[in-house]
């Protein structure tokens, strides 16, 4: 069985290649001048530069948070390149560099609109600090849907961006959100107008390529009254011995009766078997169910990153709005994950559901951290949370840190958590029926995570299942 655990820690990271393209950088380090430089490179309006500088001033006064159950390496914020882009005449070239296109092809992200895939998924691909292409924009714009890079949105839909930017995650929200607000480079912007059902899945794909850089993208999604949207996010990075910083902010505004589903398959480079390198994934994601009857659903599959610090949260403000959080977090080798959610119930009759499945193997640490808060006005609100942990091997840790805060005498909150391992009996049962140990573990883990995986859009579910079984090749506890 020990051999099988060793096998597990020797898995490969097939997205770990580097693309050779000429890139341009801003100088290393962070100062007001660097922020002005980034802003001018992106030809941003004055108000956005002010927003950045304001956030930077707030950030300078903030201490780095250490409350996570994480052993965080020292981050030298002056040793990071805050903006890197493939060289081209403009921010957004007409023709995509063939090398970059090949990169995304290799990652399974088609940047050319193809007949076979027509009407299935529209992609916005972000390469280091810039968006290199957005597909199906025409088909979407016919329905009034705006789906473009953040920089473009700032230029063309300035009013919309200005209205919603930082309305869910204020610039001074936390250390990493403030940093992002100061230096954010690109990301996706999406607006679904009233009553429109988005005809295809929208997707952002983030790729870190350049060395010594950080990626700071910002995603803003606005779903107007009665609209519907399914959004997916994927990410990968090359294998390097250094830690690279990824500090993103995702904001989602869900108006009355709108329905948004946000899915993530996070596969950043997790570092090698000795825990060298890997991405530090320090992300703030938050949505607000603003109007009555609105709905926001988070689904995440986290298999990558050396460190994950991420709590997709929902503020349930509208009466009878609802939200869900489904998560599978898998850590291996020396990976550390501290992830969970926050459900803030403000409106009457609001409902939320949390299902979190943690899997730890190798020497990894996997924590669930969550908050369910019932404010006095949340009459009749309900929450149900379930957090399960699965341990594979005796060197890893699995932790659960939920907080329930109830101030409403008609609200009800339920939380339950269990920790277990794959039992000898389960394995024996499979082996006895001719299923090999590796396959059996894959089967058991997939069964364990099924409740979450089944929530993913089809294209992602296949990828996620593959990821889980690759990551768990031969794992037995």
């Amino acid at each position: 069985m020990d051999d099988l655990i060793k096998d597990l820690t020797r898995q490969e990271y097939k997205e770990g290649f580097v693309t050779e393209v000429e890139q341009e950088y801003v100088p290393k380090g962070l100062s007001e001048d660097i922020i002005r430089l980034i802003s001018s490179k992106k030809q941003e309006p004055e108000w956005l530069l002010e927003f950045r500088l304001d956030a930077f001033r707030k950030w300078q006064k903030m201490p780095q948070p250490h409350w996570g159950h994480l052993k965080m390496p020292e981050i030298d914020f002056q040793d990071i390149i805050y903006w890197a882009a493939p060289k081209s005449d403009s921010d957004r070239p007409k023709e995509i560099d063939p090398e970059i296109e090949k990169t995304f092809e290799k990652l399974g992200i088609p940047l050319k609109e193809r007949e076979a895939l027509a009407g299935v998924v529209a992609f916005d691909a972000v390469f280091d600090s810039v968006s290199v292409g957005t597909t199906y924009r025409k088909a979407l714009s016919e329905k009034g849907i705006i789906f473009c890079s953040f920089s473009e949105a700032v230029r063309e839909y300035s009013d919309l961006v200005r209205k919603y930017l930082a309305s869910v995650v204020p610039s001074g929200d936390n250390f990493y959100a403030a940093l992002n607000s100061a230096v954010f480079s690109d990301g996706s912007f999406c607006y679904i107008p009233k009553g429109v059902k988005c005809p295809m899945e929208l997707s952002s794909y983030f790729r870190i390529n350049a060395s010594g850089t950080g990626q700071f993208e910002r995603t803003l999604i606005v779903a107007d009254e009665g609209s519907q949207l399914s959004y997916m996010e994927g990410c990968t990075a090359p294998m390097r011995d250094e830690n690279q910083l990824h500090a993103a902010v995702v904001e989602i505004v869900v108006e009355k009766d709108a329905d948004v589903k946000y899915s993530t398959v996070q596969n950043w480079y997790p570092g090698d078997a000795e825990g060298r390198g890997g991405i530090l994934n320090l992300v703030t994601k938050r949505g607000i169910c603003k109007g009555s009857g609105s709905h926001l659903s988070w689904t995440q599959v986290e298999t990558g990153s050396a460190i994950t610090w991420k709590y997709p949260s929902t503020i349930l403000k509208g009466d009878f709005s609802s939200s869900e959080f489904y998560s599978v977090a898998l850590t291996n080798n020396y990976q550390q994950a501290d992830t969970g959610t926050k459900m803030i119930h403000l409106g009457r009759g609001t409902r939320s559901r949390i299902v979190s499945k943690g899997i730890s193997a190798g020497h990894s640490e996997n924590s669930y951290r969550g908050l369910v808060r019932m404010n006095p006005g949340a009459a009749g609100a309900r929450n149900f949370s379930q957090c399960d942990s699965l341990l594979i091997g005796s060197q890893c840790g699995a932790h659960t840190f939920p907080v329930i805060h109830n101030q409403c005498p008609t609200a009800s909150v339920e939380h339950e958590a269990t920790t277990s391992k794959i039992s000898e009996d389960q394995l024996f049962y499979c082996n006895q029926r001719g299923i090999g140990p590796e396959e059996a573990v894959g089967l058991i883990v997939n069964g364990y995570a099924k409740e979450v995986l089944s929530r993913l859009p089809m294209e992602f579910a296949v990828e996620a299942q593959k990821l889980l079984s690759v990551s768990l090749e031969g794992a037995v506890g």
Binding site: H69, M374, P376, S389, L391, I392, G393, S394, Q395, C396, G397, A398, H399, T400, F401, P402, V403, I404, H405, N406, Q407, C408, P409, T410, A411, S412, V413, E414, H415, E416, A417, T418, T419, S420, K421, G477
Partner: protein, 198 residues
């Protein structure tokens, strides 16, 4: 077997207990109405086969501030711990339960269970619950559950439709809610608690 009942404010509750091989402990801790407290208990299970059965009850009707903090450390394998804490919180009271189960690396064959249930009676009261698990061994069976809710309206209706006065019906509901813990107490104390619910 060390079996004891502690009434907060009347009895002194030990803040650290270490249990060796095969030792067991059964405690019941009660915070009666009118009691505010900050209680911290650490129980270390240092020898194999040690077991803990810990139950607690907190009743807050006015402006109490009750904070209960339990750290249960499984330093050795093969130990069992059970915790059950129940609270009824009304008025402008604040009650919080913070319980951490810590399972040390190689403390295999550990069984640890923890439950915290509360009933909130007023919109001025606040209930907080932090049931936590920190586990470094794989061959374990650990679970925790926490709920926070209110007295069921259907149950109330059922009793009222059978001629039970509303006040009495509520009292019966509360008695049934706390009885898993209250049943461990002496008859006198139980009667005192049940009367206080009126």
């Amino acid at each position: 077997m060390i079996e004891r009942t502690y009434i907060i404010g009347r009895d002194e509750v030990p803040c650290l207990v270490r249990l060796g091989e095969g030792e067991s402990l059964r405690w019941t801790i009660v915070a009666l109405p009118g009691t505010s407290c900050r209680l911290s208990i650490e129980i270390d299970l240092d020898g194999p086969g040690a077991s803990v059965d810990l139950a607690g009850l907190y009743l807050c009707r006015e402006s109490e501030d009750v904070q209960i903090n339990v750290l249960l450390k499984h330093n050795s394998g093969g130990c069992v711990s059970r915790q059950l804490f129940k609270g009824i919180v009304g008025g402008t009271a604040r009650a919080s339960f913070d319980g951490l189960i810590y399972v040390k690396q190689d403390a295999q064959k550990t069984k640890a269970y923890q439950e915290n249930h509360t009933i909130l009676l007023s919109d001025k009261a606040v209930v907080e619950s932090r049931p936590q698990l920190e586990i470094y061994a794989d061959d374990v069976e650990c679970s925790h559950g926490a709920t926070s809710g209110f007295l069921n309206a259907d149950e109330l209706f059922y009793m009222r439709s059978r001629g039970i006065r509303e006040e009495e019906a509520r009292r019966l509901q509360m008695i049934s809610f706390i009885s898993p813990v209250a049943e461990r107490l002496s008859e006198d104390l139980k009667a005192e608690i049940y009367d206080s619910l009126a």
